[in-house]
Each structure stands twice: as C-alpha cells, then as structure tokens.
Amino acid sequence: MEQKELRELESRCVQELPPACTAACPVHVDVRAMLAEIGRGDFKAAAKVLKRTIPFPGIISRICDQPCRSVCRRNEAGDGLSVAALEKSCLDWAETVREKIPVLPAKGSRVAVVGAGLSGLTAAFDLGRKGYCVVVFEKSGHPGGSLWNVSEEDLPRDVILNDLRILQQVGVEIRLDTEVGKTIQFEELRGDFDALYLGCGEQPTGSFGLAFDGEGAVQVDPVTFATSREGVFAGGGMRRTAGRQSPIQSLADGRLAAVSIDRYLQKVSLTAARINEGSYPSRLYTRIEGTAPLPAVPMADRRGFSSDEAVREAQRCLQCQCLECVKVCEYLNAFRGYPKKLIREVYNNLSIVMGMRHANKLINSCSICGLCREVCPGDLHMGLVCGDARRALVDMGKMPPSAHDFPLRDMLFSNSEDCTLVRHQPGKSKSRYLFFPGCQLDASSPEHVKSAYLLLAEKLEGGVGLMLRCCGAPADWSGRAELFRTVLREFMAQWREMGRPQLITACSTCYEILKTHLAEVPVLSLWEVMDRLDVPGPRHPDSPGTVAIHDACTTRHEPHIHASVRNIVQRMGLTIEELPLGKEKTECCGYGGLMFFANPELAGKVIERRIGESPADYVAYCAMCRDYFASRGKRALHLLDLIFPSAMDGEDAATRKGPGLSQRHENRVHLRETLLKVLWGETVKEKEDYRRIKITIPADVREAMEKRLILEEDVQWVIDQAEKTGRRLLDNRNGRFLAYHKPRSVTYWVEYSPEESGFLIHNAYSHRMEIVEEIKT
C-alpha cells in the first residue's frame, strides 16, 4: 500500500472528523468532550476542555451567539443543546482553580494591538503566550470594548475584569485612554513595533494608509487577515461593515490573525496548511433514526442551570460519531477500532522491515464480507484492504503459515483426483448445463448434491453435466494470488473441455468467484434455476411454519438470488421472517475470508451474534452458514433440506450437526465414488493402504482433533509409519504407544494402543516447529 492510497482510504472514514458543533464553532471548542464530562458530573474536567480553546470563558459563556446550537444534531430529535449555558455551568459548579498558563520564552519581537475588544485581546493573549512582547492600545478607560455595551445583568462587570486578568499572566501590557491616530500616531506604532493588529471594533479615526473596500471596511485577506500594508493585520468589527456582531467570530478573528502574525514574524508562509480554520460544515456522519426525542432541560433559575440540571442537559448530547460499520461488525468490535485507525495499523504492519508485525491477526481475521461498505457513508470496504494486505504479506513471504494452512490443504484435497469429477450427463455426449455444487456442499450434504443433480438432469433440456471440485476461494481469501490463478486455469480448462456449458452453482461463494474472475463463464445460481423450474411442490408436513432467511454474504449484490430463494420458500407455504440485517446488508456466518481458521474465537462470536437475531428456524443456502449455525445449537436448515426432505430419513434436519472435518473429506471422496459407480457405472480405485487402517476414536478425542484441525487420515498416517518402521515410544504404565510423523508442514503426535482389528486412539496433537535431528535407523 502506498502512502497516497493510505491517505485516500483514511479520508473516506469519517469517524475522526469533528462533530457538527465543533466544526461550526469558529474556534472549534470540543463541545462533545465538554458535554461528556458534564454528563459525568465532572465540571472541573469540562471547564478544562473549555479553557483549552477559550481564553475568556466567563465572558463567552454569557454572550456567545452559539453557531454550534443550530447545527446540533439533537435538533432532529428534540432541541439542540444549550451549549453556552452549559459552559457557564462548568464555571459555576467547578471549584475555581487558577491554572498556570505556560508562556514560551521571550521571542524579542514586539506586537501592537489596537483596540481592547474581544478580537484584539484574543490576539494579544495568543501572541503573549507565544513569547511576544504585546502592547494593547485602548482609547477608552477600560479593556473589553463592546463588551461594556452588554447589559450588566447579562454580563456582570466583575466577570469581564476577572476573565481579562489572564492577560497579565501572559505579560500583555494594556495602555488605556490611548487612541491611535490622536494620542499616538499610527506611523509611530509602525516604527516601534514589528507587527500590528487592528481590532478597533469600528472603523478607526484616519485611514492609516490602508486600502478599503467599496462598503468602507478595511480590506482584509479572508484567510490571513492581512491588510494592504505589510505587517498590519485587522479583524473583528473592522472587517465587517454591517450585520449582527458575533462575539465568538471576533474571538476567532483575533486568534487567526495571531497565527498569521506569528508566521509573519517567523518569516514562514502565512497561507500554508490553513485548512478547516473558522466555521465549516462537518462531514461526520451520525445516524439519528431511532433516537428518542428529548426536549431541552428547563432552568429553574433563569441565571443558569443548577448542577443537576446541567448534568441532565449535557446527557442529552448524542456524543455524535459514525461507527456505522463497527455497530454491525463483530470483527471491527473485536479489534476495538474503526477503519481509519485499523487501516493505519495494516499499513504500518506492511511497512515494517524489522520487528514484530502486530497486525497480522487483524489482517487475517476479516471475513471480507463487505457489510462495512454497505453501511459506510464513505463507501469504505475494510475487506478489500485486508485482502490486499494478505496478498502483500504472501508476496513478502511474511504471511504466517499457520493462518490458512488447513483450508488451503483442504482446497488441494478437494481438487485432488480423490474428489474431482467432470462428466456429461449419463447417456449424453454434450452438456448445455454444468452443475457445480461446490466443495462444501459436497462435504456437508452429499445426498443433496445427488438429489439436486438428478432433478436438474430430469428437468433441463440439452444435457446437464456434473463437476465436483473447489472454485479456489480459499486461495483467493488467503492472499495466494498465484495459487488462485492456477486453480482458475484448471477450472477453465475443464469447462472448455465440456463445451463451454452454462454453469449452475449451488454455492454462493463459487457463484461470486466465477462471476468476478471468469467473466467468460456464464453462471446461474441453482436457486434461480429451481425458481424458474417451479420446484419444489408443496411443503413437507414436518417443516416449520415460519423461517428466517439468512442470505449468504457472497450474494450481497445479487438481488435476483435473494428473490429466487424467497420465491422457493414461499411456494412451500412457509412464512418468511426477514432478519434485521439481510439481503444486501446480510452478515457473514464466520467462514468468509477464512475467518474461522485465522481466528476461531472471533468466528464463534460472529456465529453467536447472527443466531441471536431471531428465535425462528434459519434457512441458509450456503452449506457452511447452515453448519456453523447448527454447530452452536441453532435450528437451521439448508434450503435443500426443505426441497429434499426425504434425504433426512426421519431425523430433524434443523438440529443435525454438520459433519466434522474428517467426515467432510470422507463425504467428498464417497460422493465421487458413489456417483461414478451409480450414475456412470465406473469403477474406482482402491484406497491407499494407510487409509484402510481401522481406528477407533472416542468422542472426547474426536472433539479435540476437530479443534486442533487433525484429520483421521493424519492419525492413520502416523500409525502406519510407526507400525511399519517400529519408531515409537512405549508407555510402560499402560502399554500405549506414542508416535510422531511430519507428512508436510505439521508434525502430528498420536497416542494409541492396538485393538483386536485396529487401533484405539487416546490422544492426538500437533506442532509446526520441526525436530531437526533425524531418527537413526
């Protein structure tokens, strides 16, 4: 990932953008944080937040014109927050501590500020803190300018004087009764000071040699506040000829002019990187739907909130943030982040030359299901970022081998000669269609594969061929680009050999993979075909009345498949309950992106979340979805369980646990053998010797093997080797043998004892570290 790409991706996640209130405030008070503190009853912390931005909080909290309030999102569900009154409550209810203001070492340059109004005093304060020698010239006998025009009831005079004391702390000198142009000449100031700020509040006496606009106001650059004369800046009332006075805007003018003056005196660019200064609309997305309206908390005493009222008012703050994706994604929840933060972690992980890659698990745990993009206001797809990162890790040789080892071997097994089959319909030499059930349906419900194939062969004209193999999804998901291309090439060769038939997939992942990567191959979903063929007939008497449909995440953008599935289910007379997240917003079951193998704990949480969404029986049309839900005790059916109920042989299909990993292998092999024998009358080769070793596996051992991804054939292989070579350990206590063998990347250990006609397995475990020493023969 390039820096530029990172920035582009990051910019699409709005979570870190300021809320509307802060963006509207020309000095960007962190209103959200302040209200959160008040909501917690911590007025001191709230006051600290306010004082970070506002030098004169007593004054501002009484007279602020609150541009934040009209844009407050609470207006859409009640009344906007009373921000100024809450600011006042911070000061009223926090114990007053005069904080020390840090002042930078003296810089030597001198700045004159003309006019002791809000803008001038803010500029003076900011420059004083930065170490400039600042002198304020005020024509009247008191500082504060137009503040003295506010009624004493609204703004008591002691509040003004108290707030302005802060100027002494930063060394600002105020010369009262000094009118520039009368008491002291403008040009004299120009000579004595290195820079000037004009914040007179009104047009000054004399023109000072400045340029004016058509309406008689001083011409001021809207970004830098520079006037037509070098080193002279102006703001506040001086750059406004008419219109309502905005105290907070005056304060902002002083602040932004101070930034320019500092830059001017430091001889750096006045204009560089001055984005989002002043008031602007925020792009932060916050969903308000579903928020209960709350009216403003009334004040018992009109002078201000009681502390209790303030807490209640602040608690109405929505604490605006986006997190749309995090709300619906267990993965983002588990990694305690939102895309902007996590994408940076992914980027850093890829950029590491030496040291630990802490984000490998983050990269490999995403299901790549794309729900985040569906709900994202910026159209950001975390899965694509993770997919790219996986390919990059593989390219660098830094992909942790353990993350995807099992599913990749599973894929190679599905595409080995033990499991693959490509044939025209028995008795035909051409295929107009090719049924491609997908390796997981072969593994999960081989009976259904056979039933569906026979049905298609019966109903469709022109010959229906059959193809058993894997589409290559595990290679794609695990970032093995080269391997994926190889699998697709093999697929294409077989498809061409079959005469380029129309493909019919039962698996949504195969459907998506083929559609995305093999544009040449025309592909139909089994469900749209079944829908068109008007199958099945009336529902089975045992089927439930109401079912909830779980759409496969790989059909997210295939509304025609959603419709066909629903048509089929409705035709059976079943009532459909839609889950809160379905169709284009469906959730992944925990298998997608190989999440289950890279992060089984997270996949468990994903399954639990999904099955908790409705008490109704779920109907899935992906074998993995169904088996995962059933593995956690959820009543779940595959659509084919409803279409071919007879296959269940009286067993309740909804409670059936899916086959274990070894059985899944076995089912694929057996399906191929059975179909070859029964439909094509072909003989199949005998199993290899070691696969015929008879083993008995107690339930607890089998369960441990499932968790440890150890297959029966791994166990048989170890025993075969140990018994042939005699290389094994003997436990004197109980006569059990212990042997190890490393057929590929993993060393398997098996503890076993001989039985009458085979072996009883007591334990099996594995590790990836390699024992370097060979056993001597």
């Binding site: 993350a403 440890r708 094994r728 350990l729 003997l730 004197n732 590790h767 570290m769 390699e770």
Partner: protein, 68 residues
Amino acid sequence: MSEHEPRGENLVCAACEIPLEMSKVNISYLGSMFPVDLLRCPSCGIVFIPEELALGKMAEVERLLEDK
C-alpha cells in the same frame, strides 16, 4: 486426555527398548533454531515432545516467529 498424558519417566524407546534420557535437541521454525531439553532415546534419537509443550510454549513461540 491430559490426565492420560504419558509421563516422560514411563516412556521407553520401543525399537531400542531403552529408557529416554534428557538431552539438548534442536528444533526449528521459519529459519530460527533453538536447543531444547527433551527426553530422547540415547541410541536412535527418537524424541518425546509432551502435549503440554506442543500446545503451550511451542505454539506460543510459533506465533511469535510467524509475526516476526
């Protein structure tokens, strides 16, 4: 299963019919090699890696090396 775990002192090498002895054994992963104290047949060199070690410390080191 762990209660059935074979304890080292009861293990003998079935081929050589002699007890295992503690010795330094090199194990490696992703290009890193470590000497580990393991029970080993002094004659043929067959080793014993207990379940607890394989699923505990070794798994942990594997993860660390994979993230390096």
